[in-house]
């Protein structure tokens, strides 16, 4: 599974970090060009009824993720619904560290996207094989 990872440390305990991440996602989520399914109508984002949901100005919404693990204060996983042909998951873990909580996010299954989404990615193969091998090739 090809994945990318990102992480930050925040100065609150894991329970607070989990709560702020989920309850207040609408207040921190960056509104960029690629952050919304429908940027023209999008008014907010929310974890609601077992889904990660994009809310629209006309009262409608689109579910962008299906929550598959909700384990406060440690772990949260949702399956991506934006690209239904892919099998992507986003996992967020909250771990107590000196001075607060380490929040690690892993976006998995990028290799399951169809080519129109990701140029050179094909479903059903692990790009990791190629990636690792190539990476070794160009190491000096």
């Amino acid at each position: 599974m090809t994945s990318v990872r990102a992480g930050v440390t925040v100065p609150v305990d894991p329970a607070a970090a989990f709560r702020i991440f989920t309850d207040e996602i609408d207040r921190w989520y960056v509104r960029g060009r690629h952050s919304w399914v429908d940027p023209a109508r999008a008014t907010g984002i929310r974890f609601q009824d077992g889904y990660l949901r994009e809310l629209w100005s006309d009262g409608g919404h689109v579910d962008t993720g299906r929550i598959i693990a909700w384990e406060p204060p440690h772990r949260l996983v949702w399956a991506d619904l934006i690209n239904p042909t892919g099998r992507m998951e986003i996992e967020v873990t909250f771990r107590p560290v000196e001075g607060g909580t380490e929040v690690l996010l892993e976006h998995r299954g990028l290799d399951t996207l169809p080519p129109d989404v990701a140029g050179r990615i094909r479903r059903g193969y692990s790009w990791n094989i190629v990636l690792r091998w190539f990476a070794d090739q160009w190491k000096d």
Partner: protein, 111 residues
């Protein structure tokens, strides 16, 4: 020349064979004619040409025609199959790094 470098099946197939990996290894030092590659991997030119065809189809190498003699064709490594993928992964990573950075700012503002 098959220009369909998006064909992951072909890319993976190209990398699955030790002779072809050796060829790619050799090309890291710069372009080489087919004849030299055949010598280096201790294979006849016709036997290697089959492997070179697979590498071309996978988009991993490109060949510049060297006249009528196929052995003089100059082979060069293409990094695109890898760099395109890596560039895309970098974009996804940057997206999440920005979101988490914003999350951190939000937490710190609220204290």
């Amino acid at each position: 020349m098959n220009t369909n470098v998006n064909d992951l099946d072909a890319t993976l197939a190209a990398l699955a064979d030790p002779t072809r990996r050796k060829v790619i290894d050799l090309l890291r030092d710069g372009p080489r004619p087919a004849g030299e590659l055949a010598q280096a991997v201790r294979m006849s030119a016709p036997a290697l040409s089959r492997h070179l065809r697979v590498l071309r189809a996978g988009g991993l190498v490109r060949a510049e025609a060297g006249g009528a003699d196929a052995r003089l064709r100059l082979y060069t490594l293409r990094q695109e199959p890898f760099t395109a993928l890596q560039a895309w992964l970098d974009q996804v990573q940057a997206f999440w790094a920005e979101q988490l950075g914003s999350f951190k700012d939000h937490v710190e503002r609220g204290r």
